[in-house]
């Protein structure tokens, strides 16, 4: 196997498949080196932007090419249109986070360079997770994403909350990684391979899943991935970690990590026996309930979005449950998850970004009372946040609506109509708290006693990011044809 890997590295298909990851990796190293030179912040910014653009272009090339590289490197990695689209989603998430973080840090601004390197590294990790056809490759991707995120969560090292968030995330993340490895070992013991291809062949799949050892292994793997996507009952870490992390990073955790883990789940779909569909649907609905009810209780908008992120994970999981139950549309769940997560990256990424702009270096101004009267004082930010809230709530004309439509389509096609109806009714609860944000911004007068949101001018990078997010959300909602055809 090892020799053939070396051989196939020179294969043009493999090079094409790995080119976006290589571009990101090389870019990250260049940015790291640039930190040693007297280059200005703007010049280094150009370098980061160039890295992301080149990687996005390379993903785009795969997406639009006649011939995709497909499975490469002896079957451990796949690069097709779906992974290319996932790659674009990850890069978009990283780009949004990066743009919003440019002027976010005050005390820790001198470490911006390291911050950017870590950010780019997460993009490599996420792309690896999405393309992995092998448990070890996935694990390397997972750690490539997680370890930089631990550091990023604790990036404001002088703030207890931030350090606490980093530590919590690290400890629980390490635990989840342990679960993953142990599960992988059990699957290996039962099947003799770490490749997901075992599950592609029906006969082999049935034989492997017969063994209780493999089932326990699959369950442990699932638990570990569920931890990353923050699905009930593995969601308890989310509110604290999201609240304590620097806000743009929270956006990345909510969007990117979730998207990457879902990408893998969709790849590994066949490993889940059909019998688990009902259980998955139940977990999905419970996740939605827990997330939405939790969010309803919050006064802090950042914490509220954290809980809402849990609920959104539940929604996507419902699509996966539908696919496991036997969706007659072959790639229906994949399309639904891609569209949903793409819209979610723009929406939640934008929402966390706007919240970041309203803070002034960690002085938290993100309570509902702090948002009062924002529509009068900062109409553009308030309008952007309004669009994001409506999209999170799945109101038509935003990307969130069509995402929701596609996800529930999977459930309906798989004949899980009761689950779908419970699901949509749970999403009515969600509107209860999204609307409260809009109420605070537009319908309530500023409260004299509560601190006003930051009034510092908004940097161009943040303007660009928030405008792009709004544009993308509306584009996906109003003219979704291109997205639907390529997903």
């Amino acid at each position: 196997m090892k020799l053939s890997v070396l051989h196939s590295l020179f294969d043009s298909a493999a090079l094409g498949a790995l080119a976006p990851l290589m571009a990101l990796g090389i870019g990250a190293l260049l940015v790291l080196l640039a930190g040693l030179t007297p280059l200005s912040k703007a010049a280094r910014g150009v370098l980061v932007a160039a890295t992301l653009i080149v990687a996005a272009a390379l993903h785009g090339r795969i997406l639009l090419a006649e011939q995709v590289p497909g499975v490469v490197l002896d079957g451990v990695f796949v690069a097709d249109r779906a992974t290319a689209m996932w790659g674009l989603i990850f890069i978009a998430g990283v780009a949004v986070t990066w743009l919003f973080s440019r002027n976010y840090y005050v005390e820790d601004a001198s470490h911006q360079n390291e911050h950017d390197v870590l950010l780019i590294a997460t993009a490599v990790g996420m792309s690896m997770m999405a393309g992995a056809r092998d448990l070890i490759v996935f694990f390397i991707g997972l750690e490539l994403l997680s370890i930089p995120l631990y550091a990023l969560a604790a990036f404001r090292r002088n703030r207890t909350k931030s350090v606490e968030a980093g530590l919590k995330y690290f400890l629980l993340g390490a635990f989840a990684a342990g679960f993953f490895l142990y599960g992988a070992a059990l699957v290996y013991a039962a099947s003799g391979t770490l490749s997901l291809d075992v599950f592609a062949d029906p006969a082999q799949r049935a034989r492997v899943l017969e063994s209780p050892m493999a089932l326990v292994g699959v369950a442990m793997l699932a638990a570990s991935v569920f931890f990353k996507v923050s699905v009930f009952p593995f969601h308890v870490w989310v509110p604290d970690v999201y609240e304590g992390s620097p806000t743009p990073i929270t956006g990345l955790m909510a969007t990117g990590t979730k998207a990457a883990a879902f990408a893998f789940l969709l790849n590994a779909l066949l490993a889940l026996p059909t019998g688990t569909a009902a259980g998955l649907a139940a977990i999905a609905l419970l996740t939605m309930a827990v997330g939405n009810l939790g969010a309803l209780m919050q006064q802090d908008v950042k914490r509220m979005l954290a809980y809402s992120g849990i609920a959104h994970a539940g929604v996507v999981l419902l699509a996966i449950a539908g696919a496991v139950a036997g969706d007659p549309q072959p790639h229906g769940a994949l399309q639904a998850a891609l569209f949903y997560m793409a819209a979610y990256v723009a929406t939640a990424g934008g929402a966390f970004g706007v919240l970041a702009l309203l803070e002034s270096d960690g002085e938290r101004m993100t309570t509902l009372d702090g948002l009062r009267g924002l529509g009068q004082r900062r109409p553009y930010l308030a309008a952007a946040l309004t669009v994001f809230m409506l999209s999170l709530g799945g109101i038509p004309a935003t990307g969130g609506f069509l995402g929701k439509y596609l996800v529930f389509s999977v459930a309906v096609r798989a004949e899980m109509i009761p689950a779908a109806i419970v699901g949509v009714l749970l999403s009515v609860i969600a509107l209860g708290y999204y609307l409260r944000v809009i109420i605070a911004m537009w319908m309530q007068a500023p409260d004299e006693n509560s601190p006003l949101a930051s009034t510092k001018p908004i940097a161009i990078s943040a303007r660009l990011a928030s405008t792009a997010c709004v544009a993308l959300v509306l584009l996906m909602g109003l003219l979704p044809r291109w997205f639907l055809e390529h997903m």
Partner: protein, 520 residues
């Protein structure tokens, strides 16, 4: 391809954008821009109405159709979702009503909207686009788009410019309606997947032959969404709150047009698209309608707040509409369609009038008034005409609609028709009593002596509606004749469905609904 409908629908939205970019203080400019845009739409709407159905007018003139995006379907070809707007007999009256009512509503805001005028006009215009789009959409997904989007403007209108408990009312309104809509979304998903098209007319052809079981669950999902919007009896509690807290203009639009989205949906989708289920469910729907008439009237009787009283009367009046529609007889459906327009005009007028007196007196409690007719004779005249139209005096609009509905429903179910008839009496009781307590009696409260009568602007905005009240009362056929050809299509479908039900009843030992069949 003709662009009339596109222009009609999106002109308000374009005007909203234009207003959004006007400078902050330029209130006069914003008001006149909004008025101008809605006036142009009104002219376009009236022109479409007059031209509609005239011999030699090509049907394509009333359709705008462009491919939009595709969704998965159970067939080899995906479902092509289209951006298809079209005018037919079912939507004609609603579209015209929306177009005509809006400039009047905008003009009424001169009196009661003094803060954040710019945003108000923007939301009003966005709402008009939403409403017109809902009525004109001939694609199921497009319909759903407009249906849900039209929630947002009213949410803002109530939430920013509403009364004391506006935040509670606006959230309640939004969540209630949304819950219904989302269940409808599940039905739409299922239809698009199994039938492979989202074109409303194609679906009407396909679904009317669907098995009764499928029709019934689809019917339940659609009827839930529309029933909440109408509002039908058990789901009506959001309406009095929303109406009471909304600003005058918001109430007028809510009563005049938004609620009609629900009844329109019942005609277009529940009855026309799913005739078998409509026949099966008709007894239930008629019962809900008739009980709603009575219950709404009793609720209204018990109110002390004028605006709440009218809001409750809306529940009652829309009960008539549902009763008439689900009689499924020609007279009943005609009456229901006409009553939709009537209610829009009469209740719109009542809300406008209440708004006018509230602007002067800053109270809506019936006890605060008495003898207002002496202080405000012109106002009193308008009020009395409107009240009489609302209680169904022959010669005014309300009579024709109610008569047709009661006649049509008597053919289908004498019981519910009689229950509805008693509602007419209660309707007269509460409205006339309110009139007496407010307008007549002694002018004994000092605050009421100083009340100024309504001015030229107010008379100007009431007059067109009064003209319609008389016109509809004297010559309803001007309106009914335009809707007739399309309503006949519905009756053909219903007849076909009845035959199919009868055939299946004969085939199986247990008859499905013999009572239904006997009654016609």
């Amino acid at each position: 391809m003709h662009y009339d409908l596109l222009l009609l629908t999106f002109l308000p939205l374009a005007a909203a954008f234009a207003i959004a970019f006007t400078p902050k203080g330029a209130e006069a400019l914003q008001r006149y821009l909004a008025l101008g845009a809605t006036l142009i739409v009104a002219v376009l709407g009236v022109r479409l109405f007059l031209g509609f159905g005239v011999e030699g007018t090509p049907v394509e003139r009333y359709v705008f159709d462009a491919p939009w995006f595709t969704l998965p379907s159970s067939y080899a070809a995906p479902t092509q979702v289209r951006f298809k707007l079209g005018l037919d007999g079912v939507s004609l009256l609603m579209v015209t009503l929306t177009a005509v009512l809006m400039p009047i509503v905008i003009l009424s805001t001169w009196g009661h909207v003094h803060k954040r005028v710019k945003e108000f006009m923007v939301w009003m215009l966005v709402m008009q686009t939403g409403m017109l789009g809902t009525f004109l959409a001939l694609d199921l997904v497009l319909f759903y788009f407009f249906w849900e989007i039209s929630l947002i403007p009213l949410y803002f209108l109530i939430g920013i410019w509403g009364g004391e408990r506006r935040l509670y009312a606006t959230i309640k309104f939004f969540l209630y309606t949304l819950a219904g809509s989302l269940v409808m979304m599940i039905a739409i998903i299922s239809i698009l997947w199994t039938r492979g098209t989202s074109d409303v007319f194609e679906l009407i052809n396909l679904l009317c032959r669907a098995p009764l079981e499928e029709q019934l669950w689809l019917f339940a999902a659609f009827a839930l969404a529309f029933g909440i919007k109408v509002p039908l009896l058990p789901f009506h509690t959001w309406l009095p709150d929303a109406h009471t807290e909304a600003p005058t203009s918001g109430s007028v639009v809510l009563a005049g047009v938004l609620l009609k989205m629900g009844t329109y949906g019942l005609v277009r989708f529940c009855i026309h698209m799913l005739p078998g289920a409509a026949i099966a469910a008709a007894p239930v729907m008629m019962a809900l309608g008739a009980i709603g008439i009575l219950y709404g009237a009793l609720l209204a009787w018990a109110q002390d707040d004028l605006k709440r009283l009218i809001a409750c009367s809306s529940v009652s009046h829309l009960g008539y509409v549902v009763l008439g529609l689900f009689a499924l007889t020609p007279a009943g459906i005609n009456g229901g369609m006409l009553q939709m327009v009537n209610h829009g005009i009469s209740t719109g007028l009542l809300f406008l009038l209440v708004g006018m007196i509230y602007e002067r007196r800053h109270s809506r409690a019936l006890d605060a008034f008495g003898g207002v007719a002496v202080a405000m004779p012109i106002f009193a005249l308008f009020w009395v005409i409107t009240t009489l139209s609302s209680v169904g005096l022959p010669g005014l609009n309300g009579f024709v609609g109610e008569y047709l509905i009661l006649y049509g429903s008597f053919q289908a179910s004498p019981l519910w028709s009689i229950v509805g008839l008693s509602g007419v009496i209660f309707g007269a009781v509460y409205l006339l009593m309110a009139t007496r307590r407010m307008l007549f009696g002694a002018l004994d409260k000092p605050e009421n002596r100083e009340l100024a009568d309504i001015g030229a602007r107010e008379i100007g905005l009431l007059l067109p509606l009064i003209v319609l009240v008389v016109w509809l009362g004297v010559s309803p056929n001007t309106f009914l004749s335009k809707t007739q050809p399309d309503l006949e299509q519905i009756h053909l479908r219903l007849a076909e469905a009845r035959r199919a039900l009868l055939a299946s009843a004969e085939a199986s030992p247990t008859p499905t609904r013999p009572d239904q069949e006997q009654s016609r």
